[in-house]
Amino acid sequence: MNLFTTILRFLQTTKEIDLPLFYPEVCLVVGLVGILFFQLFRYVKEISPFLLMAGVFFIAGLFSCFGLETQHRTEIFSGLLVVDSFTCFFRFLFSLTGFFLSLLLYLNNPVSSKSAEADIAVLLLGATLGTFLMVSTNHLLMIFLSIEMASIPSYLLVSLRRSQKRTSEGSLKYAVYGAVASGILLYGLSLLFGLFKTAHLPTMANEIIRLFPAMEQAEIMLFSIAGLMVIVGLAFKVSAFPFHFWCPDVFESASSEVNLFLSISSKGAALALFIRLIAPFGIFETSPEILNQIRYFLSVVLAVLGVLTVTFGNLAAYGQTSLKRLMAYSTIAHAGLLLLPLIVLLTALDISSKELAVGAVSSLLIYLGIYLFLNLGMFAFTAAVCDNNESANIHDNLSGLIYRQPTIAISIVLILFGLIGIPPLSGFVAKFAIFAALTSGYLASGNILFLFLLLVGGINTVISLGYYLYLIKIIVWTPSTTRPTVTHTLTPATPQTETIGTYSTQQYHSNFSRGLTALVTLCGSSTLILFLFWDTIYTVCLRAAHSLF
């Protein structure tokens, strides 16, 4: 009888509190299963799985919209997950990414068979489900579970591309390195679990405050090793400097749509998880000075990671001949810049300034939101050009683009200027927000570190100018190359293969369907529109950041 009422009460809370906040995830799961089942029926089978997926993401995005402004911090499923505006923001962002991703996949189909299409749809939905859980993690189990849920489908997504030798190499490297990173992460988590005897993150923060002053030297050592192991696991997902090596290889071998997923959803979710791990240390009023040492340790680690990542990414992008590889280094550099607000967040918790913390988090959020559209444009372009020509060579794909495809060329030039971060384009807003967070961090705390970070950010803006302008130069004033773009043969299933080998502008023309042109143009014009109206987005970001503290 007792057990029965417990179960009943449990079911009731699940139904009344947990599930309504879990609708976006539920929606993804239903869509995932639905797409799998639809393959069994003859008539439904005719609908493109990508369109179905777009619908699923659209509905998931709608559900996430509801909590965007007002959702207070609520723990669901007995503390495993937490839902607040921050969660909703990321759910919405990832749904948006997924939606555009589905459109892109639909417009530019990277696989030849229908069943492979369904596979991609299912894997993408599953990986997005993983990222949804990553941003709402509140428990050690969920950290590992969600990271794996996002990673394992990604390994497969990388390998799902028209038969190419390199693809298998890229996915094998990704899978092996990814598994190593998650193994190290898990060991770190197990040590944390042992040290503080709890797996619930806020409780753990409480325990740290309680136990840390009395810890022995060996225990502190163990604690920092465990912390470093967790950081390694997350840094791998963010592709921060010493753990970035998978990124260029995977980006080169995977299809552009998957690159978009990896650069926005996967990295964004890992950054959100970073914030979820850091934020609990600030929500307690009681003697936060005890944690200064930990925060100092963390901010030094993050500063080293961030500075090395952004500088390395920008420097390594020079001398790349493959557009996709260059974009991989560009995303590494941007990820490095995105690590910097986390240091401001740590400092804000140090001096318990809520305003500063909110500013830091919202700068990261608006950066991701704007970066989505910039990357979407770039990867839609590489999908149409590089993937279909089976060559990502910069010169072959970009030279003289302005004469062949003026609309697309102008959009891409705008996007590239946006990636540098020049007004009046949206990329500037992102950069401005990050720099603003760093400056306010400096003025609030007086820590010289921030001046150094500002300097690094400024110098890197100038460094990045070189390779983005190089691309622009090729687009605008290098005449088209005349040599054939493809040297090896493809599977004869696709119609494009017949013209391959005899290069002509006709062939390039056929790659840009009207839909793709519209998508790239949308992204190009969004750089201007988002710049004019960024207050609206920033307000949403502020709300999301507010709900954390």
């Binding site: 390994y155 390199r166 298998s168 190499e169 094998l172 679990f193 797996a199 260029p248 071998s253 590889r325």
Partner: protein, 112 residues
């Protein structure tokens, strides 16, 4: 060391074994060039962490506030390790089809 051997089994014994397993797994991942060998290393690392979770979560060794969290995490990790191994093996197979080898050092097409 001898102390540990003569004492009754405590948490420390489990931690030592787990640390040993972790090191062996890590070394295995670093030194093996055969993809299957690397996967074995990964399994060792995951299982060493599992051992930690179970040992830390066990009420027999220390006063724990974590309920059955440790054991539950271990169960989930086992499932995930299995799925991860399945995916990694599938990818390895794919690699084998293309390169006729599972020596990971042979994949040298991606550079720069």
């Amino acid at each position: 060391m001898f102390d540990l051997l003569s004492q009754p089994v405590t948490l420390t014994h489990y931690l030592c074994i787990s640390a040993f397993l972790f090191t062996v797994g890590l070394l295995c991942m670093i030194t093996k060039r055969n993809a299957i060998g690397v996967l074995i290393g990964i399994e060792l690392v995951l299982n060493s962490a599992n051992l930690n979770f179970i040992a830390f979560g066990s009420p027999y060794f220390q006063q724990s506030t974590s309920g059955i969290d440790g054991q539950l995490i271990a169960l989930f990790v086992i499932v995930l390790a299995a799925s991860e191994a399945a995916v990694a093996l599938a990818i390895t197979f794919h690699f084998y089809q293309k390169y006729q080898t599972i020596d990971v050092d042979q994949g040298q097409d991606l550079k720069g």
